[in-house]
Symmetry: C2
Subunit: 353 residues, 2 copies
DNA sequence: TATTTTTAGTGAAACGGTTCACTGAAACGG
DNA sequence: CCGTTTCAGTGAACCGTTTCACTAAAAATA
């Protein structure tokens, strides 16, 4: 095995042709070279165990066929499906992905700088929960760097953006309980407590509005008294569940269902309900939003709305590809994606049938 | 903002010097250039908003300052901490990481080919559960490509390898129950059922041996009758728990503790125990191995052994850096890492105090 | 002052591909 | 048979850096 990898020149020498011919053959440019020499070159390449140097190619073509995927919070279970969606689309087009994980504004800027230095052809930026200012995005835009953002609360119409329909999700999750015959439906939401993270608050507000929408349109009681703050955390969900139980025990008309605005809170709440001796879903039906792998393994498994995150990845990739191929779109694209309802045991749907 | 990014030549022209001088200044080569011109060059670079082209640099230096991290099963929650460990060490040395996820042999080979074409300076390969043949690793070795493998069952001494002490983990998890006063300790293991995935079987066997070790050294009854096959899955753990409960109900001397060889099985088993009306840990104390994020959120939270996976990443990175800096080590390195005991509620330790 | 050393800076050759402009020969059309 | 087109293939410039070998002037040394 050669220490130094073989180059086009080596092949050219071995096959007795010019380097440009070799290049044409190896890149499959048909009709430029006769079958005879073509075969010779291929044989020489095989013999020398040739492996094209992507760096040199990028240098010459002024393209890397690589896009940067920047994600906040690598820990978040949503990140894997996004990359899957992105990868699925980009691979077909011959692009590669390089991944960068960030956790705050500065590290995001660093990541962008780094990847620009690596000459990526474009970016996909996905925020899972953090809102970040958009100055540096405006900069990207000004520099004519192709990019798409997912789930980020920015001035509409400014960039190519993909969003999740949080309000619709809150509505669907609540409506599902209504459809199962529930009339008094509480909620554990992130709204009441202020959060430093803007984006989280926005989605909390929207999901909460969805809950209200559903109640209103069904003519159910407004439920104002049955809102509990969970702060989007396991602990918060746990405490909110305790409060809910306490209030329900003193109420002549306790809720029979609860919409919990995030999976983490739902898992905490499940523990609270369990400790209080409540049976789910018999005593209280539960729906939530977010479908991490373990949502199927709770007791009982959670009925939930899954973020269409694979699809978000696909759409982002397609938007980016279009830009790369046909130039910047005349006007920036806005996409709103629906959540998918996943029915498991916590809503009690199976009890009905 | 310039459409085309500025190059060294642009700066050289603007500052009225040669390009090599600019290169020296920008790379901080002290003492080669007078403070005056240095300042001029810096000013010019700032003005042109210069961003070095990493591709061109890699080309010239024949190094990319990038290493490839190849991981099977991106879904696995272990993957994030590995990359954290790797990143922590590599960043200090000025290296970047490019990530590739694989799921079978062919895709692993593809990933290696791809990254070699991208001219990465070295590899870290981490298997989380799949055993793959090593021919292509031997090839890497023959080509003098620096690499380190984590958690892979290969002929000892062949390559730089990092392993987890599965047997010690099984021993510790069981011993912890013994220390809490338990004498009859069952196990749910992956051993009895054959698995296609070799690696998984190996770790299953070792963890099982650890359980035996602990029982023997404590003079406890051997427990042969209390081994249940869980096949390393949620479903398997669930069924094994049912079998365990059934057998315990007919036994004059039922076990008071159980060591479950993987977190997934433990979560399934928890459900089985719950449905059977068993209280954990009062009726049965549980320990397991593996600490995914949700292990703290089960009911009750799991006492478990955490894989030192951040440390594995760090060690791998350091081994690789050494190779990169000082050349291939005279003999390949072998590292065995201990698991860390994380005490939560499922073992009942808190009840004792 | 004559000689050596240091300082400050330079031009050009890599690195490994791609691609443009070009050529000589063969094939073709009338 | 001549002019034109197609075919098969080539050399060299270029992409943006790094770095080697070199120089002219200044500084240090004797």
């Amino acid at each position: 095995m050669a220490r130094k990898p073989a180059t086009l020149r080596d092949i050219a020498k071995l096959a007795g042709v010019g380097v440009s011919t070799v290049s044409y053959v190896l890149n499959g440019d048909e009709g430029r070279v006769s079958p005879g020499t073509k075969e010779q070159i291929l044989a020489a390449a095989r013999e020398l165990n040739y492996r094209p140097n992507a760096i040199a190619r990028s240098m010459a073509k002024q393209k890397t066929a690589t896009i940067g995927l920047i994600i906040t919070e690598l820990q978040n279970p949503l990140f894997v499906p996004v990359t899957e969606g992105v990868e699925e689309v980009l691979r077909l087009e011959g692009y590669h992905i390089v991944l960068a994980s960030t956790y705050d504004l500065q590290s995001e800027i660093n990541a962008i700088e780094l990847l620009r230095a690596q000459q990526v052809d474009g970016f996909i930026l996905m925020s899972l929960s953090v809102h970040l200012p958009s100055d540096h995005l405006a900069q990207l835009d000004a520099d004519d760097v192709p990019f798409v953002v997912i789930n980020r609360d920015l001035e509409a119409g400014l960039f190519n953006q993909i969003h999740f329909d949080d309000r619709g999700a809150g509505r669907t999750a609540t409506q599902h309980l209504i459809d199962l015959g529930h009339r008094r439906i509480a909620t554990i939401s992130g709204v009441r407590e202020s959060t430093a993270e803007y984006d989280r608050r926005r989605s909390a507000i929207e999901r909460h509005q969805g809950w209200q929408d559903a109640l209103e349109s069904s003519g159910s009681p407004s439920g104002e008294d049955w809102v509990f703050a969970g702060n989007y955390t396991y602990e918060g969900g746990y405490r909110a569940a305790q409060q809910l139980v306490a209030q329900a025990r003193n109420s002549p008309q306790p809720p029979t269902g609860v919409f919990i605005a995030s999976d983490m809170m739902a898992i905490g709440a499940l523990r609270g309900f369990f400790e209080a001796g409540l049976r789910i879903p018999q005593d209280l039906a539960v729906t939530t939003i977010g479908d991490p792998p373990y949502a199927a393994y709770t007791i009982p498994p959670l009925t939930t709305l899954s973020l269409p995150v694979v699809e978000a990845g696909r759409v982002a990739a397609r938007l980016l590809i279009d830009w790369l191929k046909f130039g910047k779109p005349a006007q920036s694209q806005q996409v709103l994606l629906d959540f998918e309802l996943i029915i498991r045991a916590s809503c009690g749907a199976s009890l009905k049938t």
